[in-house]
Subunit: 141 residues, 4 copies
């Protein structure tokens, strides 16, 4: 587990297949980047991957809101570090803020995603397990 | 060309491969749906596809902001109609509002996207061609 | 159900986001086209979609072999008809041959996929239900 | 550059979004894995990425044949090493053999891809540059 003081970053290279005929990342692929970063954060920082969350804890964490701003071009082979931060922790929801920076430190895109914890069987919002909530709070700002 | 009074809809079925092990559409695939709807609208309503915009008019229309709210589950084989509306037309940008409804008319997700017109060679914001702007205004609310 | 004599075709347009910076479909997207065509065939011709195959019949049909030959360029906006044919029906497996043709009738790519029927719970090969097998044979060559 | 004797491997984790409602990788995503491995090999071993191949050398290397056999299940979070080997070097084409192994060394899928070198402007097969050909031969079996 990292300390809240050292932000978690997920490394991601923009691939040939992420890019469209204009030579820059196709918009939906940016949400692939954001969601991959969140998945890795869940596994590495919360300590539970999305599969075990479902099979062992009987819960899911579907994303109910996602947004992104593209602020600099995203050509093939660009190496990004995507920072994941917990912005807000509710009873059954978490808001994440993400920011992707290139080798020079310039931001290329940023995003925000809201995950809602649900009881996987009932398919209904449900308070997240207290152990997860504590880890979320310990890693929030 | 449709009349502004009859909203444009893009039909889209949620496919097996759009869905993740939780059995619902994986978040980035929702942005695939939104972007596909916008691409079809550009071709069918504006009358110029993204390839010709680039090769014949020397312009691009990258999306600089995208967001979506997922309000109902999206299982495989769900048939959606995605409505595309022009919300705002600027000098070099357009804001679109999109809404995806299932067979019963219930909304499953909605989104908003902002496209910025650029000079493709200079990779810089540029006023959109007047012919496009007129068609955009004629199809806005 | 179509007659075996009139081949089943799945319409598919090559989208902007299917294409890479070289301006043609990125190879994995061709397998998206092939798998989508097979999914539609399963629903339209066999009469059972992959979700119901799993939830109602307790079976799956994972693809154990897939291949494709790309014989003509695949630029954005190309409209294809992908023909799906049953080439061989075994006890627990089916071989499909697919061919994608453009508006002029020219073939742009062709593929072959082998699906293996499994008991979904046991995750083991299992004979397909006799009703499915009869429909497969009725639609094979 | 690695020696031909130490095979090049590309690390790849099977992600949540690679998998379908059956809980295993959706077939086209396996071709994403294979193509990503080939792209990385091109950059790391041949020393020229696909973008520079196009912009600096005026060439492309589209894949004209691709195939894969899925031999073991591919659940989320499975960590794979994908080995890339040059199987055959022609005047204007290269055949690659790829194999993806899990942590225990078991093979989960294998593939074969044929890339054809083309003159990017003429969109026609063309002999690959001699420098590339020498590096390909030095890294073939």
């Amino acid at each position: 587990m990292t300390q809240p003081s050292s932000p978690y970053t997920y490394p991601r290279i923009i691939r040939w297949g992420d890019c469209d005929p204009a030579g820059i990342a196709y918009t939906p692929r940016i949400f692939d980047c954001l969601t991959e970063a969140l998945e890795a954060w869940h596994r590495d920082i919360l300590g539970v991957d999305w599969l075990r969350l479902r099979t062992e804890m009987g819960m899911g964490a579907p994303i109910v809101h996602a947004e992104a701003d593209m602020v600099r071009p995203l050509p093939p082979d660009l190496v990004l570090d995507i920072e994941v931060r917990v912005e807000e922790v509710g009873t059954a929801s978490v808001t994440y803020a993400l920011s992707a920076r290139g080798p020079s430190g310039d931001e290329h895109f940023r995003g925000r995603m809201v995950a809602c914890y649900i009881d996987a069987a009932a398919e209904r919002a449900a308070p997240m397990p207290e152990s997860l909530r504590q880890r979320l709070l310990a890693n929030s700002e």
